[in-house]
Symmetry: C2
Subunit: 318 residues, 2 copies
């Protein structure tokens, strides 16, 4: 069903979450927001392009979910509390039914985290979704990439590799596991875990490009080395069932992108607190290595060096 730009905006506005700190939301030249006193503002922005960041056959509701999820994941990796977002939606034609389906996914996740959509635009162009996400953190509490310290444990949440396995299955055109596909299409941003970790961990990053590649960003920023025991990487039952070859599976776990789990560095003394945080956040966490002096990421298996099939996910090379 064709619709004008303003019809689409009305549809979007009708479904947004209400918040007291939104002075003026969708419908003016810009939104007016009241940040809480004494807090730092945390801002992330990520775009999803059709065929690059999601397969062309992805359901509109899943695109809506994922566009918000990847941005919430960035805030989770800072240990921030999300509050508001803006959305820029480019569509090849103004299709009200498509937008309604998109909003079903977008709003479901927005409501989980009480995030208000306060502005943005809808426009004509190849299918693309850009979201900016805004939240807060107490000064000094953010989980920066540059704050890992020698002696820290390295942890990961969830079971990385699932999303990449779904993408590999989709590319191969064979059997497709719906559990894995759901991990690709509807990643769970670890917002609660990130909030709890801001009290006990040193550094964090979310896994969008692949565990080892993202961990390398932490090492570079912190001027440290990471030793990762590939044998310790948590594996989901779905991944184990879908990929029988151990080395292929490990490559997906270590280098597959799009999981939006958190990889974080924390003092050894905080192990109990981290398990308690994970319990509160309803997500498993696994200790996979440690921070040492040096540079780069070293992966080992059975005590020897290990190399994955591919080492990351560059959106210009992928």
């Amino acid at each position: 069903m064709a619709a004008g730009e303003f019809d689409l905006i009305d549809r979007i506005r009708a479904r947004t979450v209400a918040r007291d700190d939104v002075v003026l939301g969708i419908g003016d030249d810009a939104a007016l927001l009241q940040p809480p006193a004494g807090m730092q503002l945390v801002v992330a922005m990520d775009t999803l392009n059709a065929g690059i960041h999601f397969p062309h056959d992805t359901a509109p509701a899943d695109i809506g979910w994922k566009a918000l999820a990847v941005n919430l994941s960035d805030l989770a990796a800072m240990g921030a509390t999300p509050a508001w977002c803006t959305l820029s939606l480019s569509l090849s034609e103004p299709d009200a039914a498509w937008v309604d389906a998109f909003l079903n996914g977008f709003d479901a996740l927005a409501r989980q985290h009480a995030v208000a959509l306060v502005g943005g635009d809808t426009t004509r162009g190849p299918l693309s979704v850009c979201v900016s996400m805004f939240g807060f953190v107490s000064p000094g509490r953010a989980l920066r990439r540059a704050a890992a310290r020698v002696g820290d444990d390295i942890w990961v949440s969830g079971t990385p590799g699932d999303a990449a396995a779904a993408l590999a299955q989709w590319s191969a055109g064979g059997a497709r596991d719906p559990v894995l596909r759901a991990r690709l299409d509807r990643p769970t941003p670890r917002v609660t875990l990130g909030l709890r970790l801001s009290e006990v961990a040193h550094a964090a990053i979310d896994i969008s490009d692949g565990l080892l590649a993202d961990l390398a960003h932490v090492c570079r920023a912190s001027n440290v080395r990471a030793e990762v025991d590939v044998d310790a990487l948590p594996v989901s039952g779905a991944l184990r069932a879908a990929v029988s070859d151990v080395e292929t599976r490990r490559a997906l776990q270590a280098s597959g992108g799009d999981d939006y789990e958190l990889c974080f560095a924390a003092p050894v003394a905080q192990r109990d607190a981290i398990f308690a945080a994970a319990l509160d956040a309803h997500v498993p966490v696994t200790r996979i290595g440690r921070i040492v002096e040096g540079q780069g990421v070293v992966a080992t298996s059975n005590g020897g060096p290990w190399m994955p099939v591919r080492t990351g996910w560059d959106h210009f090379a992928g």
Copy 2:
């Protein structure tokens, strides 16, 4: 020249404006910013897609300028002080020379307004530029669309119609006036004027979709009617020289988009203050009508009703 995503990010980071209120800029999962105490946060977001919002032959530097300008214009229309922005850049291939040229235009305007680029992403996809812009306004000072009052004068800055004339010349493929084309490619966001107007005007909007169409948004939000004297619309020398037919010219002035001038409503008692503000901001302003009781926008010429050839610019219809 091909480059990886991280090379491009390094190029972008190297050129951003420094500000004391940027706690952590480009390079982590999200930016950390320190909003000024007691101020409201103003947030806008606009996307430019190739072939929709700018002709395919637009110079990269002009695309960079315009992507920032249209967002600064949104803040100007709120009477806000700009501070920070984020940039999501989708490119069909990672071309470092293209990005450098783009940044030449983007940074030139960012430096004029001391706006720091604090985050975003670069990714693969059809050429598209999404910018989010953040600024501040004192509580109660924002120029809302809903605040026009019966009896107000209606004003416009600059000379609307120039950008639409350039687009018409480009579409026709004939003679092209470089002055008009510069108004299309390098619009001047009226930031200083907007700031000064926040002290004296009631309501404002920037002209992105066409003067009468954008003024209709103000009328709808304020529940008033606007009477516009088309004979009073300011016309540039370049437009007069390029378009000899009066009615065609008026249609461009009244309905052409992409000018990013401000249309605003202000009390009659503020006329002197508005001319003083315009003098400070180095932009002419013209009184073109008044706000009355009723609804909608009525355009007149020589005392009789007047209708333009087209009535607006919907990005899904344009």
